[in-house]
């Protein structure tokens, strides 16, 4: 397996290369610090299986760099990598033919698994990068936020439904959503996790 990691931070390239080469012996990881360097490397090395492209580095200009690479190397698999991508940027990358989006918070094992998924021909989209561990609660829907506030007060589904003028079944759906986003198995655990994370009105 031959990978090209394009990121203007040498420390990031080196850390990722070390990890990948350690976890997948025999893998060759080549580095580039800009889109220009990545394109030059790809012209010289036609055996690259996957290009991992940092969203914010010289030559990217939004998603122009991705488009440029896709135009010159239409058969190459390209994944976008970022720590702070917006949903429209992620969607835009897939529209331009990217095969994956890699948040920089992925662990080494997850990263390797994602790379293997993409090389196997599937697209890789992680679960909401803003969902886990966001104490500001920004990833909750408005309804989930309202229901969570009542959960924190120890209210039952029936009481919450009455207060929010919803049906119990609807409250149940929102409780499930809250549990999913907090990684909790049930409402009690969800409340504990929300308190731990400092989520409160």
């Amino acid at each position: 397996m031959r990978l090209l990691i394009a990121d203007d931070h040498g420390l990031v390239r080196d850390a990722l290369s070390s990890h990948i080469e350690r976890q997948a012996p025999g893998t060759v990881v080549v580095g580039a610090a800009s889109v220009d360097e990545a394109v030059s490397a790809l012209r010289q090395d036609r055996a690259i299986d996957l290009l991992i492209l940092d969203l914010r580095m010289p030559g990217m200009n939004g998603l122009d760099g991705l488009q440029r690479v896709r135009t010159e190397f239409p058969l190459l698999k390209v994944a976008l990598m970022s720590g702070l991508a917006r949903p429209d940027e992620i969607r835009g990358a897939f529209t331009r033919g990217a095969v994956g989006f890699l948040p920089k918070t992925l662990s080494a094992t997850e990263l390797l698994s994602a790379i293997q998924t993409m090389l196997a021909g599937e697209r890789f989209i992680p679960a909401d990068i803003n969902t886990a561990d966001t104490a500001d609660g920004a990833s909750f829907t408005r309804r989930e936020r309202e229901v969570l506030d009542y959960l924190l007060q120890g209210r039952s589904n029936k009481e919450i439904a009455r207060s929010l003028e919803l049906e119990e079944v609807t409250v149940k759906l929102h409780v499930r959503g809250i549990c999913r986003k907090l990684g909790a198995k049930n409402r009690t655990q969800a409340v504990m996790r929300a308190v731990e994370m400092g989520i409160a009105s």
């Binding site: 070390s18 697209r123 679960a127």
Partner: protein, 164 residues
């Protein structure tokens, strides 16, 4: 005792004006610290003091990453709210949120019916396989029929297409 970071209104105000480029650079440094401390923790002799130090650096890097993740970021003003029906599509919920959708998951058509019967104003689109959507057309919301086994990018496009 001096106030701790994060306690005052001033601290919160600073968080709101941190430029994205700063967060990007900070994230990159944390990626390197996290990556190398992981390698170090794996390589050093098990149970030794050095491995414990590496594990502590790793834990600190992880905590710092979580702090960066907590920095408020602008959310899209108009998010598409979707009621996703059927347990088979549950695996896609997180990925659809990454793509910018606001997802509520109904485990079955029956659950979705109950929710829609009470109110349709919480969602813009109902999505599911043809089987799960049968009978949900009566509530006046656009339906996005999703092929079983479709990935999140495909489902996202179908949902946005159904909304028009």
């Amino acid at each position: 005792m001096p106030p701790s970071a994060g306690d005052s209104a001033d601290d919160k105000a600073v968080g709101r004006v941190v430029p994205a480029t700063f967060l990007h650079d900070l994230n990159n440094l944390l990626t390197a610290i996290h990556g190398y401390s992981t390698l170090l923790a794996a390589d050093l002799p098990a149970g030794g003091l050095e491995q414990d130090f590496a594990a502590r650096i790793l834990a600190a890097a992880e905590e710092a990453r979580q702090l960066v993740a907590k920095v408020p970021r602008p959310r899209p003003a108009a998010t598409l709210r979707v009621l996703l029906v059927g347990g088979a599509l549950a695996r896609l919920a997180g990925s659809l949120e990454t793509l910018g959708l606001e997802v509520t998951l109904a485990g079955s058509a029956r659950e979705a019916q109950g929710a829609l019967k009470a109110s349709t104003s919480d969602w813009d689109v109902v999505a599911g396989t043809a089987e799960t959507l049968a009978g949900l057309g009566a509530y006046g919301l656009p339906l996005a029929t999703v092929p079983a086994g479709a990935d999140a990018v495909t489902v996202d496009a179908l949902i946005r297409g159904a909304r028009g």
